[in-house]
Amino acid sequence: MFAFIIRRILQFIPTVIGISFIMFVLLNVLPGSAALMTGGKEILSPEIVKKLEKKWGLDKPFHVRYLNYMVGLAKGDLGTSFIRGDKVRDIIGNRLWPTLKLAVAALAIACFIGIPLGFYSAVKQGTWVDTVTMVGAVSGVSMPQFWSALLLMYLFSVVLRWLPTFGYGNGDLKNLILPAVTLGIGYMALLARTTRAAVVEVLSQDYIRTAHAKGLSVLFINGKHVFRNTMVLILTTIGMQFGSLMGETVVVETVFSWPGIGSLMVDSIFLRDTPVTQGCIMLIIFVFMSVNLSVDILYSVVDPRIRYD
């Protein structure tokens, strides 16, 4: 097992280098310069633009910049933001917690509603419960996030006035509900469908028939045998979802003015603030990779057949 973890971490490094190179090239080739964007409505004169670009080291040749960046990355220094002047680490740091809160809440909705729904509709296959859940799940997956966000916001904030409208507030739960639900719907639907497929497959296995032949009650069989085996099957989906969740929150964060990593990344792309964008990407990849690794490790814990040597 230990050798496996080391190997996975070693595989981590070329991927991170690969991604950082691709994104570094892509972001630095974009037309338009960050300097122009510091002027707000005023279009700055060329001297100021040149001075700023020299200050940020944008005048050095490409490979020198890339090497400096990678050396910095190795030392854990993500550089300073062109537009904001602060250290990238701090900017990302205080935006990490809102995104994590949103991601965890959305995933919680997905897991605590999606999985039971999927489980129940698979066990009650063919009944109206099954059809309703699955049609609901398909609709959830098909809903464009920004449209559902606006509908929810309109319904709950203005018409019913139950929930606050704008973004983060001082971080209390009330503000989290709407964005988390909007983000969660898609993932809940996906999880319901995956769980249903997994349960259907497990129910058709021979060992379930053996369990029935042993005279065990349906509740016991579903609770112990079916549930445990289903969890193993859907573990990857949950891992994949949480891994990619960090990057998928862009649209929801924009509509709800939620100060997260997703909207920060898109804003920095528009403002050509490369160090911040690059920093966000590194964070997202780090989360994605570590979630995948922990899912694989969890696998060997849950499923004795899987032995990493």
Binding site: V138, P144, F146, I269
Partner: protein, 279 residues
């Protein structure tokens, strides 16, 4: 899995799915006949933001253009983006998947590490960066979405090839002297098209949502071309004064994507022998 009509009939989601998709495809093909006005030419600023009335069933947008016509013509953009990008994704994905699955060893490792990289970068962000590089425009959207999203198809193809490789008729083909590529393309590929078709259908749905998100963030097709995502982006602030501007394009995206997803699910049930026995 016989394809008798009785067999298809009971596939409700396949039916509803294909009905919706046919409806949107019809809308795209017969747009000039169906649309009461021209989506970009008939723009009369006097009728800016008229609510749905007898003259404009879906009302007008801020430029005074009939929203029903733009929704109808918008189907062309969304479907072409969906179909074309997924076609590119599938072609690249299938080719890479075949190579990785059939040859294995270092080719497999190389392709797998590439897909690892592509999968870890969020698709929307990668597409945004590519769009920012090339600037808005339909062809650019094709490229941005067509080149970044083939990892899923590649992984699925690879796993299907790995299992098909061990089947007896493939071994028999090798014994009969079939060449590598003949085995890949006329022995293995036709038999794994089922699952690939399913994931491609769901891929089209995904591409349409992505294009809408891109336009929503301001990097979709060039104005005044009507794209559902673009219409939605513009209408965001107006949700309270002119909600009809955003409701109808949003509904259009939702129904199209729903249709494609239902069609994909129905296809999967039809092709998956396991499900057919039990129903």
């Amino acid at each position: 899995m016989s394809f008798s009509w009785k067999n298809i009939k009971r596939r409700t989601n396949l039916l509803i799915g294909s009905a919706l998709v046919m409806f949107v495809a019809g809308m795209a093909v017969f747009a000039p006949l169906l649309a009461p006005y021209h989506p970009t030419e008939d723009a009369n600023i006097l009728y800016s933001e008229e609510p749905p009335c007898e003259q404009f069933w879906f009302g007008t947008d801020i430029q005074g253009r009939d929203i029903l016509s733009r929704v109808i013509y918008g189907s062309r953009i969304s479907l072409s983006v969906g179909l074309f990008t997924q076609f590119m994704n599938s072609v690249i994905g299938i080719f890479m998947g075949l190579m990785a699955g059939y040859f294995g060893k270092w080719i497999d490792d190389l392709i797998m590490s590439i897909t690892n990289i592509l999968l870890s970068i969020p698709t929307l962000v990668f597409a945004l960066a590519v769009m920012a590089l090339m600037g808005p425009g339909l062809i650019n959207v094709f490229i941005a979405l067509g080149v970044t999203n083939w990892s899923y198809t590649c992984r699925l193809t690879r796993s299907q090839v790995l299992s098909a490789k061990r089947l007896n008729y493939v071994m028999a083909a090798r014994a009969l002297g079939y060449g590598k590529f003949r085995i890949m393309f006329n022995q293995i590929l036709p038999n794994i098209m089922g699952p690939i078709l399913v994931i491609s259908t769901l891929g089209v749905a995904g591409a349409i949502l992505l294009e809408a998100a891109l336009s929503f963030l301001g990097l979709g097709v060039q104005p005044p071309t009507p794209s559902w995502g673009g219409m939605l982006a513009g209408a965001r602030e107006k949700l309270f004064t002119a909600p009809w501007i955003s409701i109808y394009p949003g509904m259009a995206i939702f129904l199209t994507v729903l249709g494609l997803n239902l069609f994909g699910d129905g296809l999967r049930d039809l092709l998956d022998p396991h499900i057919t026995q039990q129903k």
